[in-house]
């Protein structure tokens, strides 16, 4: 097997051997330059013969060929041989031979990953004045220079670079990668940015959280000799405890004079958030009359002309309303909009609000599930609803659903029977109807249509008040 282009060479050789039916025990795999086996047999005829191999094995082989174990080719061919009779072998996560290949694959992947992470370039004189040139010395555990070069080519497309290793060297010029054997270790010039990098490394470390094992498990010591920042690690560890103690013992000092100036400055810029709209909406923002608000995103105030003769009251904002801060914009809002259009009710001419102004929910499987507000929460929020009624003095209030009916008339019971009737709250007529989300919750199509008809009928009646 050659040291450059190993993956393709192994694939061709294995394909040839398989086509000729050569069993694994008759093959002696050697690497270019390594001592030949006892019998120094004839090289393999590498012809491209179509052989069916599971895709998952090919992917595995593409990585395992780069492992440092001299037996890797033999191990791969042994499993390839077995695959002829056991096509589902790759799915067996517990087969010892496949498991060994998986372990080797994992080791190569890890080595590739560490190479992507731990190569450190230094700038060297440019060969082409239009492109900067960088060079690194790196010692990988496995033969990962070749399979990882593509990563660097894609990332550093606008510069030239070389990664020199004791085995193979990758050199990229003008976007073309070439591989070379046995390039001697270069003497790289000092790079001023390396000092800045070490400054950063020393300062981003928090001495109060020393966890040396966590560091070495991810950045094993074998890589340290080529990492510039590793030089400061012993000092950082040695001083950590003293630095943490010094931090803890530093007594609070007097605040600097800057504080006062800053506080004046803060008062000077009035936040846009503190000064929007009318008083009611502003007060509503800070509402903590019940506990729902702490879990919700924002309060959802009423919307529409405050002097509208028709006020429509729903239950509470839902998921979508909570995110957008506007009432009836979610699925139930769409049902409402359709019914209103059918009924000839102009939504923009009505004042639309909710009996409860925050979204109440529980979480289940990472989703927010609507929860009906309880009596005390409805009661707490009624204060705001009354204020809205006081401000608008509508000719008709439409109570959609049991919660709205409860807030406005004191009872949310028997809603379906009361639907379409007019009751009153403090002298203002209240038309009771179903909530748009009731339409969505109805099980079968017939019931859904009934509910939709009921809602449309009542909204048509409300339209006459506009």
């Amino acid at each position: 097997m050659p040291r450059i282009g190993t993956a393709q060479a192994w694939r061709d050789a294995a394909r040839g051997l398989l086509a000729q039916g050569v069993p694994p025990q008759d093959v002696d795999w050697t690497v270019e330059g390594a001592p030949q086996g006892l019998f120094g047999g004839a090289p393999v005829a590498t012809q491209a013969v179509p052989v069916n191999v599971p895709r998952s094995f090919l992917a595995l082989a593409q990585s395992v060929v780069w492992h440092s174990d001299p037996q890797r080719f033999a191990h791969l061919y042994a499993v390839l041989w077995r695959l002829r009779d056991a096509p589902r072998l790759m799915q067996d996560r517990a087969d010892p031979e496949v498991a060994r290949l998986r372990r080797m694959e994992k080791a190569v992947h890890r080595c590739q990953h560490k190479m992507k992470a731990f190569v450190r370039f230094r700038e060297v004189p440019a060969l082409n004045p239009a492109r900067r040139n960088f060079m690194a010395w790196f010692e990988p555990t496995h033969h990962t220079i070749e399979p990882t070069a593509e990563f660097f080519r894609k990332r550093y497309a606008d510069m030239d670079w070389s990664i020199v290793s004791p085995d193979i060297t990758a050199r990229c010029m003008d976007g073309q990668v070439t591989f070379l054997r046995d390039v001697p270790r270069p003497d790289l010039p000092e790079d001023a940015h390396e000092d800045l990098w070490m400054t950063y490394y020393s300062n981003i470390f928090n001495p109060a959280r020393l966890k040396v094992n966590a560091m070495t498990s991810e950045m094993p010591r074998k890589y340290w000799k080529n990492l510039p920042e590793a030089a400061v690690i012993p000092d950082l560890i040695a001083q950590a405890e003293a630095r943490a103690n010094a931090m803890a013992q530093a007594t609070p000092t007097l605040p600097p004079v800057r504080v006062e100036a800053a506080q004046r400055q803060q008062q000077a810029f009035a936040s846009r958030w503190a000064s929007t709209g009318a008083m009611l909406e502003q007060d509503l923002r800070g509402c903590a009359r019940c506990a729902i608000g702490c879990a919700a995103t924002q309060v959802v105030p009423g919307e529409g002309p405050v002097d509208s003769p028709v006020m429509i009251v729903g239950e509470q904002p839902g998921d979508q309303e909570d995110l957008e801060g506007r009432p009836f914009v979610g699925p139930a809002g769409q049902v409402f909009d359709r019914a209103a259009t059918e009924a000839g009710l102009d939504r923009a001419a009505c004042y639309i609000t909710n009996a409860v102004k925050h979204f109440k929910y529980r979480t289940e499987r990472k989703r927010r599930i609507h929860e009906r507000p309880d009596r005390s929460e409805i009661e707490a929020c009624r204060w705001w609803l009354n204020a809205e009624i006081e401000r608008s003095r509508p000719a008709l209030i439409v109570a959609m659903g049991a919660v709205a009916a409860q807030a406005l008339t004191g009872s949310g019971k028997d809603l379906l029977r009361r639907c379409g009737t007019i009751e009153e709250t403090r002298g203002t007529p209240v038309l009771i109807t179903v909530h748009p989300s009731f339409v969505l919750r109805c099980g079968d199509v017939a019931a859904q249509q009934d509910a939709r008809r009921m809602l449309t009928r009542d909204l048509r009646r409300a339209a006459r008040y506009l």
């Binding site: 498991a99 990098w197 400054t199 981003i204 931090m247």
Partner: protein, 411 residues
Amino acid sequence: MGIRTVQEKLAILSDAAKYDASCASSATTKRNALGGKGLGSTESGGICHAYAPDGRCISLLKILMTNFCIYDCSYCVNRVSSNVDRARFSVDEVVSLTIEFYRRNYIEGLFLSSGIIRSPDDTMLDMVRIVRKLRHEERFQGYIHLKTIPDAAPELIEEAGRLADRLSINVELPTDRAVATYAPEKKPGQIREVMGRIRARKQAGQDRSHTGKRPPKFAPAGQSTQMIIGADGSNDATVLGQSTRLYSSYRLKRVYYSAFSPIPDASSKLPLIRPPLQREHRLYQADWLLRFYGFELDEITGVTPDGNLDLDIDPKLAWALEHRGLFPLDVNRASKELLLRVPGFGVKTVQRILSTRGNRTLRYEDLTRMGASLKKARAFITAVGWTPGALTDSAGLRARFAPPPEQLSLL
């Protein structure tokens, strides 16, 4: 105070940024610089370029634009009333540091945060300028994480989302009340509003227009947040309750838990203690169980009377010990949902068990090759050639996993 060099500024402004836990560079759109697109690429898994002796990964250049700040949050080293050294980077300095570090393969990109100077809008605008220059002039394709200033103008947050991979806003503390006490200038409601807006904006970015074109991606790596643990008196149930709400409400990619660590020139309002690292670790484990293992919040926090996680054993084991009746499970028959609840089995192990089970019956030795931690799992499973016998019921089961008790210090 003379003019500081870039090196001095870097020392001050990276030191000031080290209390932020996040350093992820993963899960964004796949990009590279081929075809004259400039410099940089992204990897789906992210890359950690170095590890500091605190065990944290260094993936991004994590710095503050400035540590001058007009806010006075007690837990923060940069609050206005602290006497730490102050510095400020210019736009060009941050851009040049990012590009030069990136070319030397030190980092995956930039994580930029800042103290509030002048006004929130001014601060956010300066941060956006830096990212604009990186993306448009340097044509930088690498990863950018921007800490969002919640009370900045919506247009600035919009532009930030189009330029950066990830946006984040820290909720800082687990309850609104704690925020009011320790960070009087921050408004938790407003932070949630911005998170809600970012989620809605992200969703809108996924819909095709009527011509079938997709709009430009908005914060493709999503949003995240950080909560400080141990500065206020909240228990773990409160902390995890807050995270569950944040995950479900705003589809956050991550909630980071940061053990409160003593800061130089600390405010007298706060406890000067060793950071509760073990508690932080258990919270991350519980967070994972909630997100990937199908656990519900009260299952995890309900097993201890005070609503705090058991510090000695991991939360999954704590749950299993409280529900011994369910075990042992037969690995050859149990459902995926139940297998995920076996201590010592991870998501990958369970997938491997399920895919192998289709071919043949599993023996105990097979499990050793699948990445399971059998030291833990063996008391809770049966397989061909293995039954735990009395192991599941034994009263000493917990003692076997918990560390030996330490003698309490007298003082």
